[in-house]
Amino acid sequence: MANCIYKIGSITLANKAKQALSSHSVFVRTIKLSSAANGGCAHGIEFNCNQKSNVTHLLLREGINFEEYSR
């Protein structure tokens, strides 16, 4: 399955998201995003799309804002 990306914002919040997810055994990696259309540099998380509903649910529960991102 393809990888999905959520744009989080800062490296701190991307790491917060990564930590929060790993504590629920959901493993993602932080990535740098640089699309001009999205306001310039940002950090996000990349994960297997079959985890999407799980990731979405957990981020919402943790109060971490995100938006879908495509390269």
């Binding site: 914002g9 800062s10 490296i11 701190t12 919040l13 991307a14 790491n15 917060k16 930590q19 932080t30 990535i31 740098k32 640089s34 001009a36 306001g39 310039g40 540099c41 940002a42 950090h43």
Partner: protein
């Protein structure tokens, strides 16, 4: 050499500090939050780990509320200026370091704020009564040190935090002398911003300190520049923590601080505090028994003892101690207001400050030197 200047900076440091700094420089020191490669991401992760360590150490669940700074003075400036509302009134204690007094006085000089002192060297109930009398309709902030940098006295932040909560006043605490030596819970004490150095009681390196924001959200940036995100925006933004940490952070120092805070936690604050107090009480006994010094400590909350000579000047005593390789600090300790409050001589006093790595045996040498003054 006998090092009794731990209130200026702790020395020596735990070995884990140099190991972590060295490992960072040798193995993964990319620019955190700037690039997408493995070294940059690893540095960003290490810094986040330190935010978690610090937040948890001080009772916060929000690692993103930790803003790294150069030192406590920068932390206090950021806390005050990022939270400050124009044309308001500020309360500060009469035991403040210039790191609190000068930024507040600058706001006053610029016509942006008024300020009043309150006497923190009195029983807690009297402090609260005085605060009740001194607040105004536009009092927006109360800023105070948790523990005096000249005599070590610890002040009742829990009760003052409750007072601030009751009156909806921001509460900024300077923990330069207490972080790592006395347990502090930012949530339980209603602290809006806690400012601390890495290099004193947390046994970290010089060059890194932090503000931990509590129940408040900063609204003004103090420095402008790159944050690694939103590059196309014209302003720096106000999001925690990056908007308040413009430019490249020092990953090696932050990695070192992360290790040293964990070390303090493993030794346990209570053990450190007990050891420091025992040493300070011995120092106090030495000074009192010699009957030629004035000791200014009324209570012993940590490793600091402040004294001056009855007949010999502070400078002369300090000169002789220095000659015998006893490292202490004399003068006004950047806190002339506090010296005035407790009534030291015009040239200040000598501060001895014990730390975890001092021993009772070392104090015998201090006794011999002071006896011959």
């Amino acid at each position: 050499m006998i090092y009794l200047d731990n209130a200026a900076t702790s020395f020596p440091k735990p070995p884990c500090l140099t190991e972590q700094i060295s490992q960072c420089i040798r193995q993964y020191c990319g620019n955190p939050g700037r690039s997408g490669h493995v070294l940059s991401l690893k540095s960003g992760e290490k810094i986040y780990e330190c935010r978690e360590t610090i937040a948890s150490f001080f009772g916060s669940s929000y690692p993103e509320n930790v803003v790294f700074t150069l030192n406590t003075t920068y932390a206090i400036n950021i806390a005050i200026k990022s939270l400050f509302k124009k044309n308001t009134h500020i309360l500060i204690s009469n035991m403040e370091h210039n790191s609190v007094f000068r930024p507040v006085h600058r706001l006053f000089n610029d016509g942006e704020a008024e300020y009043s002192f309150f006497n923190v060297m009195q029983p807690t109930l009297n402090i609260i009564e005085e605060l009740e009398r001194k607040i105004r309709y536009n009092t927006s902030m109360l800023i105070m040190t948790h523990s005096s940098n000249i005599c070590g006295k610890v002040f009742p932040i829990k009760e003052i935090g409750l007072f601030c909560k009751k009156h909806n006043i921001l509460f900024i605490v300077d923990a330069a002398q207490s972080a790592g030596s006395i347990d502090i819970n930012i949530t339980e004490n209603n602290i809006s911003a806690l400012c601390a150095p890495g290099h004193k009681g947390l046994y970290g390196p010089q060059g890194v300190g932090f503000v931990l924001f509590g129940n408040s959200t900063p609204v003004h940036t103090v420095f402008e520049g790159g944050t690694g995100e939103n590059s196309l925006a014209l302003s720096t933004g106000t999001s925690l923590p990056e908007s308040y940490e413009v430019g490249t952070l020092s990953t090696p120092l932050i990695a070192g601080l992360n290790a040293s805070v964990k070390w303090v936690k493993s030794v346990a604050i209570n053990n450190i505090n007990l050891h420091e107090c025992n040493l300070a009480m011995r120092l106090k006994d030495i000074l009192t028994s010699l009957n030629k010094f004035v000791v200014y400590n009324t209570t012993q909350n940590n490793g600091i003892v402040l004294f001056s000579g009855k007949t010999v000047s502070t400078e002369q005593i300090y000169y002789l101690m220095n000659k015998h390789n006893i490292c202490a600090r004399n003068g006004l300790h950047c806190a002339p207001i506090a010296h005035k409050t407790i009534g030291t001589p015009a040239d200040g006093a000598i501060r001895l400050s014990a730390g975890w790595f001092n021993s009772i045996k070392e104090l015998d040498t201090v006794y011999k030197v002071l006896k011959n003054i």
